[in-house]
Point group: C2
Chain length 743, copies 2
């Protein structure tokens, strides 16, 4: 068993830990390259270039900040070279036939080729002053989706693809219903010679009726479309009520139901795959390092430590010792297979190592720090009343912010509040150990400190600018305002019930980023198409411009339109940033039929509505529903894994020592203490406290995975790699039958 | 064991069958009264008077159809007397202390008293020409909720009440977020001197900012509220994007999640209660009728038959025989406890008794009916191509409807289509047995026939009126148009995938009625309050009226408002019907800030939004989600109860006889046959076919209850009545632990 075996095992364990799924070559050089491939700097660099490539649209024509064509094309070629390099690196790491079978890689290569070709053609045509379309810009989001790092986004796309067949049937039925209602509307209202509020003919043309009623499904033209018929006869309101109940309430809920149902089904399947994959990788690693010991195979302590050092170089010695003492329960000097398999999970549990050290001041000026006034001060800060006092101060601050700032007293008060907040932070740092106060999981401490110091910096900067240059920077003032209000959020964390909801919201954030990615991809594609189709059709002029047709957004056809009347001129596709904002408005749906004013835009807008609102927003809602249900069921049932219990058992037997510093923990998470008592281990005699990072910062994925793992027996080696990859949602693998039906 | 015991047992069984939950006295007269109380005519009458009482608002001032005060007050007193009578009847039936402890009954009595008092005061004041408010009209919906018949509506209200505490916390957090964002908006935009598109000041006053942003949460003023800030600087769009993501997408989803989660939890609990209650009632009934037989207690066949005849007087003899042969499996002449307990479920399963009888024509004119051309004709009608031909005809019909009707050829075509459809129905009746064709569960046959004959009647009526009186009745024409389009819906049933979705939709209908009731209650209360507050503020004038301020809806304050510009004048609270339509528009949410134009209306509208959109619409969506999931999981897993299997087993052993009539079944439900093969029993030699009414007409409640019952062991007698009523959702009763977490 050599050094290279150890490296290979480390690669397996690290893959298991981060749920990576790359079939790499097992030769020593390949494994070394693979470790390099997974290095966080390489990954960050890839993401940087992906986003650079996407943001090129801001600088290319039609640009928000114009750059010469040469500059953007050089940047694009640079990005493409980086992608090619990354792909080559990947090719060296993985097996030859696996690499060429993977559509992801083929996609990236085709995208690089297309981009280069398009760039070359466009450049040559430009030399001859021929204007052509940069069509390859649509393929740019492919890099975001297809690089191996974006597993989450790909999963979301897979989930959408899997939902499509089911949603198609509901959609067809919905369209059928829409067409039937339109036919009825045409027959009922078409020959009445009615007029809309704008004096246009009402429900005369079948296609227009269909479109108007499609808009009504999104509720965007809700009473307007009904009013002419309603004015004619009150009974006609019944038609619209029936329409809204059937199409808006029932069909839209049905869409959500179909999307949610599929989302859940496929999520379960994906999580199951991940769990089996992890198990298998850990067994591979075990087989590489195992040695015979009596009747069983085991891994000796020394090799185990080498492995952990390789996999997680950042962990402290004491943390490693803790992990070992959990894995090697009876201190036999080796780790058996069953314990080894849990290593990936053990490494994933964020254990906070609290060195129980004295406060730095207690070491430097022990006499002063230990004196009676100092003790009193610290006990005041630790008291509950201290928290309440500051909650009261925040409330008073809120009132001051709401009041007008004209009076000088109020702007002085701002300085007072700033000072009070700074004193609070200093007092807390004085009382608690600073490295603990700024621990990784102390979200609110970091939040407070950052907000306060940013506000302090901005306020001082603003005051300096004002006194020296007699100039009020609007940007800085805006930031000061926002920071001032953000400060008030902290009060939410003081109330236990709000805290639970906030935890759900905080846990949702990581996966929200996945949806951010998904939305980015859809927005990019639609924005680029939109710019090619509608660029320059609408222009924005400042309020007091005297350009011709300034009031009609530079387009005489818009005279008297609702678009111009609503002063929507800035909602245009003239550059990448505006396009994004228009697409955001279309996602919110309201008034989209007014924003849409060019005739051929209808199809574009309907396509966007179907993709974004019916599919992606529903997936987003499904995700939030699922996240909430998972959080909620854990709140109630206190699922604790075997591993957590072990840490707890281990900590239990050790005597308590420094009461004062234990109080530190009590105070830091005082309100959370009831929930976390099981999670936090008692301090060890060495002056170490291990504490599982609080529940509130666990992601939904991790929670779901843990749930599923609890269902696989520990002895089960699971199916082979090939079997795992081909698992379908309906394949008969162990799971409780009631969970499907009772859910 | 006497006649009165049998009556008492019948009451228990009937309660179990219909999930009634009334603790009645067991004395013979009380039981007799109780049977009368539950008679369908008594129940229908109660509902009639409840709806009469509610609809009085249409005739009372401000009236849609004015009636003199004397008439409405006499009607109201009549209704109240009926309610009092019904309550007295109920009091005679139930135990004294139970009756007086039940808040439902107290509520009804208080409501009757209040209504009478108010009516008297109003009448007296009217005599002296003093105008007062009929405030007691708000209590009218109490009758709808509190009569024992409206179990479903009460359950929905209970579900809302149970959800309230949880929703309150989310709501407070949401309000906090709204207030914070408003504060930020005030600081950022308040001092910029911006103007809205209407030239009004933008974001100057804190309360107005809060209201504008609340409207933005509902997306009703989506781009408008952003445009002034966005025109000032593009960066400010980020503020609104953040606002929409946090408040519209995340918080509104959170509301749905909380409501859905609670809905599911309480639904499970209610269903569990119902299942235990049913078990207990059946055991009570058994204990009344049991006789000793060997070592066990049983019920003898004769008595069993008497009981079933009492409980379900409408069932045919053969049906009763079938039930007996299922309950008395080995034909021992008695029914044991275990089988007896299932009787309520057995009675609930809609078994269609198909008497395999010859077609009436085959009996009357056997030679003609059995002749070669007749056989050929019948085999054509049974052929798949016949269905396809008519699908094609429907499609061609759709095109003709969409075309303009000016040309005489097209209006002749309408007669041709009508004739074709009538021929289809006649051919089908000729081929299939008529009583079977119009069986209870043949939804589409009924649908077709009704639509076609209504269309025929209306068309003939219209043609007659036109030719004799030269008069085109618009109402009749409208109905003809609607019927013509509705006819096209049938094509959906030809496609298997659509059929599955349609089944879900059809199954949803009964519970939708519950939500209809719920909505009716909320609408009534808000409509009555709205009429008192806003009546007469806005007036509607026909288009060419020359009344003063006709364009401003009779209210000079509305000059130049968006309300008047959108021609919304008919959206007012001037009578009960208009109020309902305005409330419907507010439920759809869009433009509600424009519909709202009177200043103090804001609070009214926000209250309505919270009650209707945040709570009731979310419960409605939850209900559709749950219904869909239940339907979906049953589609896949084919849960069949032991009872259904028994019918199947029983049918199995019997020889087949009349092939031709078996084909009847095959053809009638041809596409459904794959799904239903397990459900339909083979014909018996007596010429009887039992068939379980198809899955598509089962309600969600019944499905859920069956699911839960599968989890209770048959021997389990369950808790006592008192324990059942006090069950809480978290009480530890048997259920699979994984279903809670894995769901």
């Amino acid at each position: 068993c050599s050094e290279s075996d150890l490296l290979l095992a480390a690669a397996f364990v690290s893959d298991a830990q981060y749920n990576r799924n790359i079939p790499f070559k097992t030769s020593p050089e390949a494994v070394r390259l693979y470790h390099l491939y997974n290095h966080w700097m390489m990954r960050t660099a890839t993401y940087f270039f992906i986003f650079l490539n996407l943001s090129l649209a801001l600088f290319e024509e039609p640009a928000v900040y114009p750059l010469p064509f040469l500059a953007t094309s050089v940047l694009e070629v640079l990005c493409l070279l980086v992608f090619l390099g990354r792909l080559t690196h990947f090719a060296k790491v993985t097996l030859h036939n696996v690499f060429w079978k993977d559509t992801k890689n083929i996609c990236i290569m085709v995208a690089i080729l297309l981009s280069l070709t398009d760039l070359a053609i466009y450049g040559v045509l430009r030399l001859y002053n021929v204007r052509s379309i940069r069509w390859s810009r649509i393929v740019r989001p492919i890099f975001l989706i297809n690089f191996a790092e974006s597993r989450q986004i790909r999963r979301a796309f897979r989930s959408i693809r899997n939902t499509l067949p089911e949603i198609t049937y509901v959609f067809l039925l919905f369209m059928f219903s829409l067409l039937m209602f339109s036919l009825m509307a045409l027959k009922l209202f078409g020959e009445r010679n009615l007029q809309t509020a704008e004096g246009l003919p009402y429900f005369r043309n079948y296609l227009e009726v269909v479109f108007d009623l499609y808009v009504l499904v999104t509720t965007a033209n809700s009473p307007d479309v009904m009013m002419p018929a309603f004015d004619f006869s009150s009974w006609y309101a019944l038609f619209f009520i029936a329409f809204v109940i059937v199409n808006t309430y029932i069909f839209m809920s049905l869409f959500l139901a179909v999307v949610y149902n599929n989302y859940k089904k496929h999520l379960k399947n994906e999580i199951r795959k991940l769990a089996y994959m992890k198990r298998r990788k850990m067994i591979e690693a075990f087989n590489l390092l195992k040695e015979e010991e009596g009747e069983q195979f085991v891994i000796r302590e020394a090799r185990w430590k080498q492995l952990v050092k390789l996999v997680a170089p950042d962990t402290s010695n004491s943390h490693r010792e803790l992990l070992l003492s959990i894995s090697d329960d009876q201190q036999k000097g080796f780790v058996d297979k069953k314990s080894f398999v849990q290593l990936a999970d053990l490494l994933n549990i964020q254990v906070v190592t609290l060195k129980i050290r004295r406060h730095p001041l207690a070491r430097w000026v022990p006499a002063l720090y230990g004196s009676a006034p100092s003790r009193l001060l610290r006990s005041i800060v630790r008291h509950r009343a201290f928290v309440w006092t500051y909650d009261a101060i925040i409330l008073i601050n809120a009132i001051f912010i709401a009041l007008d700032e004209e009076s000088p007293y109020i702007s002085y008060a701002e300085w007072v509040f700033l000072a009070l907040y700074i004193i609070e932070i200093l007092l807390k740092v004085y009382t608690y150990e600073p490295r603990e106060f700024f621990g990784k999981t102390q979200f609110w401490n970091w939040f407070d400190t950052l907000i306060i110091f940013a506000a302090l910096t901005a306020t001082i900067l603003n005051a300096t600018l004002k006194s020296t240059m007699k100039y009020n920077s609007q940007q800085i003032l805006d930031i000061v305002f926002i920071l001032r209000v953000l400060r008030l959020i902290r009060i939410v964390d003081s109330i236990q019930r709000f805290r639970v909801i906030m935890n759900t919201l905080i846990n949702i954030v990581p996966t929200m980023l996945t949806f951010g990615g998904l939305t980015l991809v859809v927005y990019c594609v639609f924005a680029i198409i939109g710019m090619e189709l509608f660029q320059g059709k609408i222009q924005y002029f400042p309020a007091n411009s005297n350009a011709p047709h300034a009031l009609e957004c530079g387009n005489p056809a818009l005279k008297d339109s609702l678009f111009a009347r609503g002063k929507y001129c800035k909602n245009n596709f003239n550059n990448f940033a505006s396009s994004f904002i228009v697409l955001m408005e279309l996602t919110v749906v309201n008034q989209w039929h007014d924003i849409l004013c060019v005739q051929p835009a209808k199809l574009y807008f309907i396509a966007f509505h179907i993709v974004m609102v019916i599919i992606i927003v529903n997936i987003f809602v499904s995700f939030i529903l699922e996240a909430f249900f998972v959080e909620y069921s854990l709140e109630k049932s206190e699922v604790e894994t075997a591993i957590e219990q072990k840490i707890q058992e281990l900590g239990m037997g050790v005597q308590e020592d420094d009461l004062q510093d234990e109080q530190l923990l009590d105070n830091m998470e005082s309100a959370e203490h009831e929930l976390e008592r099981e999670g936090g281990a008692k301090p060890q005699s060495k002056g170490l406290v291990f504490k599982i990072a609080s529940k509130r910062y666990r992601t939904v994925d991790a929670l779901l995975q843990r749930m599923f793992e609890a269902e696989i027996p520990l002895e089960d080696e699971g199916p082979s790699f090939e079997e795992i990859l081909n698992l379908s949602p309906s394949s008969p693998l162990p799971r409780s039958p009631s969970s499907e039906t009772a859910a």
